[in-house]
């Protein structure tokens, strides 16, 4: 296989991959992918596709919870000079999916949102999303720093840790997030070692 063939296999030329597909019909038996009503996808088992289809039909968070998630996500990852905000990157929808996919998130997320609203109601007479921006930040400041938590606020810290993790996951796994962080791989190339100017920057050599 030469480089041109390699690029063909990867679908990087107009030729596509069909030339290299091996003959089918090795056994002709039913496979797990052939179940009715399932569109077979390369590299996926039937139960994986079933699961995604099922989760996409379920709805977990209600509209109020989704709106609160959006406010929180944009506090965690706001728009700046480099990239857009968490909601620009679709983070709330990702969180809606991932809590269904990883159900251990469900209770702490729902309960955490409720805790936040009750906390804000007691303090500012409004649920979190209806508080002023200053009030929202005042609360977030009390739960965003795990090592300096006031007694009684531990549950808020645990919730915010989870929310921040999911927001970061949701943001940095989009094209916007990948471009923001500056990951420039995932493409065919030839690795020739650390670039010379970087070796020089750190006073290193890779000749040994």
């Amino acid at each position: 296989m030469n480089r041109r063939d390699t690029l063909k296999v990867l679908g990087l030329t107009a030729v596509g991959t069909t030339l290299l597909l091996p003959g089918c019909g090795i056994d002709g038996k039913s496979t797990l992918i052939d179940k009715e009503n399932l569109e077979a996808q390369p590299g996926r088992e039937a139960f994986e596709i079933e699961r995604i289809n099922r989760l996409n039909k379920e709805k977990f968070f209600d509209d109020h919870e989704m709106a609160t998630l959006a406010v929180l996500a944009d506090i965690i990852i706001p728009k700046d000079d480099v990239s857009g905000s968490a909601t620009d990157a679709g983070v709330p929808d990702f969180i809606e999916f991932i809590v269904k996919d990883i159900p251990e998130h469900k209770l702490p997320m729902r309960g955490g949102l409720k805790w936040l609203d009750v906390h804000c109601l007691n303090r500012f007479d409004a649920v979190f999303k209806d508080c002023s921006a200053e009030q929202q930040i005042e609360v977030v400041d009390e739960i965003a720093y795990p090592n300096k938590v006031k007694p009684g606020m531990e549950v808020g810290v645990a919730f915010f840790n989870r929310m921040r993790n999911l927001t970061a996951s949701g943001f940095y796994t989009t094209q916007m997030g990948v471009e923001d962080i500056g990951y420039v791989g995932n493409t065919p190339n030839v690795w020739k070692g650390v670039p010379p100017e970087v070796l020089a920057q750190y006073g290193l050599s890779d000749d040994s």
Binding site: L10, I26, P42, F47, E48, R51, D101, N165, V178, Y202
Partner: protein, 582 residues
């Protein structure tokens, strides 16, 4: 009532192989190329990396962004299966722990493995002779060396000649250059006396002489997804599919084997299996049966193959099958390098196996544990996936900010985004993989109370680490901490004490389980002879990790391949001499 019948194949094969991973794939490859008519049964679906690999997909192409919900190593990882498979349970005994990883797919676990390809050394084969701490194999490194050489040439491996006695050199392609983090690791190795050398992996860093079917590595770093251009070794792409193309190998997918059938003469005559898709029962016959279903699955099939002639299971007059189960030890530690904060961006994906590693560098005579470990290294600017970025909130206060001010860990907003950019690519990780002693008392057996959804009795495990592994794990942690400090890293994983087994992972977690149908010269203490042929049933062979007497700290795949090739060539030789039916 459903019509229940067993379909019997009229065709009789020269050989029936159970399993399509490294051992089954190699046996099938050699026998099919020699002209034998071979049937291979694979418990999972057909899998060809050209079609089925998720190589070069972006995280947003997975709704779970690569999370490990349904695949233990993430949504794009090649392995179908994992430590838990719906409907296929296993149990443990006496509150011990063992985790059993199974890949049900053509090529098995070779589709997602790390491609780290290390030969076992002379001491690894002769541990009893060397120092008495482990049992001897009935064969030596010199017996296996010619096959390691042939595997190197057939499949391709990169590395460097180092002349280390118990880390034998092979026939190597060019190794990849180190990444930036790895250069710091090499410096730390010099400071601490830990040997660090170029990695050894089955990835084609240059064209493999004599092979036109496989492409050269294009450095996406995603070997774990399997390679669409066959630039790395998977049994599917490099052995089974080429063997099918000879016209002599047929593969039945989704075929879950129950047992080996024996004839009145006590010899193997074929296998029975159930189709995992439609639950139809089948029987197929062959002049010989080769088990390569994975160490524990092959033991399970033999233990379930009970007959009048073989009341303890097939080839198990010694009662040894299932015993001497052992998995590599594993301990890891991570941190970040402050000197790499705000580092320049460029593509350092490299290849998906190791660029560097540390072979065992000490003499156990001076230590309080009998066997060593090697170290694998990680870190750098990797593609984001689920889990990315959250950890920053726990480490961004460990170093001063850009203005030299102390900072509180955690946060949100623009400074959180800025910290993500600042810390990206600064991480460094170390993982030790060590020799675990094969012990009679660590075993799998048939659980008399439990069957899987096909009605096949399941395995029950009994496995305990001992002082030998725990002290080794303690040493690993101390070494990692020393190296991390030597390179100026901030350690972000806490040291673990004896109450947490010094960070030693549960047995089975490293997925190097071996030894359950071990070879030996004495039929009282082994099930197979030195050719991986059953003492009690000469047309039955086992060519996966089960025949291992004792692993080294070396990842087992290269040895499985070499032994499977050796056994297949022995089979051809014995057929020629009419010691086996042909």
């Amino acid at each position: 009532m459903k019509d229940f019948q067993i379909k019997k194949s009229a065709k009789k094969y020269d050989a029936v192989i159970v399993g399509s991973g490294a051992g089954g794939g190699m046996a099938g490859y050699v026998l099919a190329h020699a002209g034998l008519k071979v049937l291979m049964l694979e418990a999972g679906p057909y899998f060809d990396p050209v079609i089925d690999s998720h190589q070069l997909k972006w995280p947003w192409e997975s709704p779970r962004r690569g999370a490990s919900t349904v695949r233990p190593f993430g949504d794009f990882d090649a392995a179908y299966g994992g430590w838990e498979i719906e409907g296929e349970p296993y149990t443990r005994k006496d509150n011990t722990k063992f985790e059993w990883f199974r890949s049900r797919m053509l090529g098995g676990r070779t589709n997602h493995w790390g491609r780290i390809s290390l030969r076992m050394g002379p001491h690894d084969f002769k541990g009893k002779t060397y120092d008495g701490a482990t049992d001897d194999w009935p064969i030596s490194y010199e017996d296996v060396k010619p096959y390691y050489d042939k595997v190197d040439r057939l499949i391709g491996i990169y590395g460097t000649k180092e002349g280390i006695e118990n880390e034998p050199d092979g026939i190597f392609l060019r190794p990849p250059k180190p990444r930036l983090t790895e250069l710091f690791i090499k410096e730390a190795g010099k400071k601490t006396g830990v040997t660090v050398i170029p990695g050894r992996g089955s990835v084609l860093t240059e064209k493999l002489p004599g092979n036109k079917d496989r492409g050269v590595c294009f450095f996406c770093g995603q070997c774990s997804r399997s390679c669409k251009v066959y630039g790395d070794f998977s049994s599917s792409s490099c052995l089974v599919i080429p063997a099918i193309k000879t016209g002599n190998l047929e593969v039945i997918s989704n075929a879950m084997v129950r047992e080996v059938m024996t004839g009145k003469d006590g010899k193997a005559k074929g296998v029975s299996y159930v189709d995992r898709g439609n639950l139809q029962e089948y029987q197929v016959e062959g002049a010989m049966v080769i088990l390569a279903a994975s160490a524990c699955e092959s033991a399970r099939i033999l233990l379930n193959s009970k007959s009048v002639d073989h009341p303890n299971g097939l080839a198990n007059g010694s009662g040894i099958i299932g015993k001497y189960l052992h998995d590599s030890t594993g301990v890891s530690m991570s941190g970040f390098l402050p000197q790499l904060l705000d580092r320049k961006r460029y593509n350092e994906d490299g290849l998906g196996s190791v660029h560097i590693y540390s072979p065992w560098w000490l003499d156990n005579k001076n230590l309080d544990f009998p066997r060593g470990y090697h170290i694998e290294y990680g870190g750098g600017m990797r593609m984001p996936s689920y889990g990315f970025g959250g950890g920053i909130a726990h480490i961004n206060g460990l170093v001063p900010d850009r203005n030299g001010n102390k900072k509180e860990s955690g946060g949100y907003g623009k400074s959180f985004k800025d910290d993500q950019r600042r810390f990206y690519g600064a991480s460094v990780g170390m993982a030790g993989r060590g020799t675990a002693i094969a012990r009679e008392d660590n075993y799998c057996e048939i659980d008399p109370h439990t069957v899987d959804k096909y009605g096949i009795p399941v395995l029950r495990f009994h496995y305990k680490w001992t002082d030998a592994e725990l002290k080794q794990a303690k040493h690993m942690q101390e070494t990692f901490a020393e190296m991390l400090h030597a390179m100026g890293a901030v350690v972000t994983t806490p040291m673990k004490g004896p109450e947490e087994d010094y960070g030693l992972l549960e047995p089975g977690k490293i997925i190097h389980e071996l030894g359950t149908v071990r070879m030996g010269d004495d039929p009282q203490s082994s099930a197979l002879n030195k050719w991986c042929q059953a003492h009690e049933c000469d047309n039955l062979f086992v060519t996966d990790g089960a025949p291992f007497v004792q692993q080294g700290d070396k990842n087992p795949t290269w040895t499985i391949l070499a032994l499977a090739m050796r056994t297949a060539e022995y089979i051809l030789d014995q057929r020629k001499k009419q010691n086996l039916p042909s």
